[in-house]
């Protein structure tokens, strides 16, 4: 009788059953083929909602306009109009609840991002009026002489 030869096969079948059982128990029920097919859409559907639920940090200048109309109008009528408030003041998050105040970054590093003059004529950078921070008043903060909300005006500090 040939039957002892098949014994290892029973073990194999047991392993296969174990794997199928593990799949049934462990794999989340919403895991499957998505709209993009098997190659590009094999995933757990619930993850999409998880990504959509991430907290928004930056609220854009329109949000700031609500309470800070004066500063908003100031900057919007200046050469700095396109810079959003949060670029320099950090993300609004749940301001004014949390944080109650946003930081005002007075460092030279911030202004130098655009105003470090680089001689690149083929790029917008070369058209921005800039300085060499090593030689242009390295001891002072930019805002001592310049008003960031409207660089055409005098400093308010």
């Amino acid at each position: 009788m040939k039957n002892h030869v098949w014994r290892p096969l029973y073990i194999v079948l047991a392993v296969v059953v174990l794997v199928l059982l593990a799949q049934y128990i462990i794999v989340p029920k919403d895991f499957g083929i998505g709209e993009r097919g098997y190659m590009y859409g094999w995933h757990r559907k619930g993850n999409e909602a998880e990504w959509k639920a991430v907290k928004v940090k930056y609220k854009t200048s329109e949000y700031c306009k609500g309470c800070h109309r004066d500063k908003y109008d100031d900057i919007k009528s200046s050469p700095h109009a396109a810079i959003m408030c949060e670029d320099c003041h950090g993300p609004a998050l749940d301001h004014p609840k949390d944080p109650p105040t946003l930081t005002i970054d007075y460092s030279r590093e911030l202004c130098v991002r655009c105003h470090f003059y680089l001689p690149y004529q083929t790029s917008g950078r070369g058209k921005i009026r800039g300085i060499n921070p090593e030689t242009h008043h390295p001891e002072a903060e930019c805002t001592m002489c310049h008003y960031p909300h409207n660089p055409k005006r005098e400093a308010t500090r």
Binding site: F31, G34, E35, R36, M39, Y40, G41, W42, H43, R44, N47, E48, W51, K52, A53, V54, K55, V56, K57, Y58, T60, H80, A82, I83, M84, E86, D87, G90, P91, E109, V112, R113, C114, F116, L118, P119, Y120, Q121, T122, S123, G124, R125, G126, I128, P133
Partner: protein
Amino acid sequence: MINRRDFCKKTMIMVGGLALPLAAFELFDPKTLRAEKTDTEKVRWVFLVDTHKCVGCGMCVKACKIENETPYDANVTRTWVERYVITRDGKVHIDSPKGARDGFKTGKIDIGGGKFEDIKPEEIDKAFFVPKLCNQCDNPPCVQVCPVGATYQTADGVVLVDREWCIGCGYCIMGCPYGVRFFHPVYRVAEKCNFCYHRITKGMKTACVDACPFDARRVGNIKDPADPVTKIIMTERVNILKEEYGTKPQVFYLGLTKEVK
């Protein structure tokens, strides 16, 4: 009974005649490209970068890090800006210090190992900045190689990573020709730009688009013919990165030159 010469002549004419209208369908046309998408999705996110306008201020990188909670001091970033300086001798100098998180604070090129290369202004032929981010390809090679289905593409074209399912093998990182993927230092799974999916699905723009003061970055929906981004892609001379890989990237560049890697 038709003779051989006539038969050949007539066949040639017939084939030639047929080839003409058939050939008309083969010409690449952006409208065909849009129509080719047989799915009925109303949204397909695309991005537009204008390298003429980018000044390398790095506000986009800073905003992205904060919005998407990528550890600020870690040397990885979902988006970055590259600086290209082409000098008179034809050499191309490229750098991206900390991904341009702090902008470009020196005219010297960062060549790694703490070394810098001095460039004389009079030697510069052309110089420009190129922002980079995930291309959310139509044929994403990173999704193809994920062994467990932890990364995938949504119906509206954004490629996402399931942080709960990723095993951290790194195959997707090796599979991306653009180098946009990395291991998240805290979550220890694969990570990359996802077009601020939590913002665009709420009608907002991505953090980098909002942060850019120079209009160098724009996000839009290619399925909406009234979208200004769509109009530019359809009518102006746009280019894509590494077309030869067949990934069909959906980030379009204005002013992309041969030097850009």
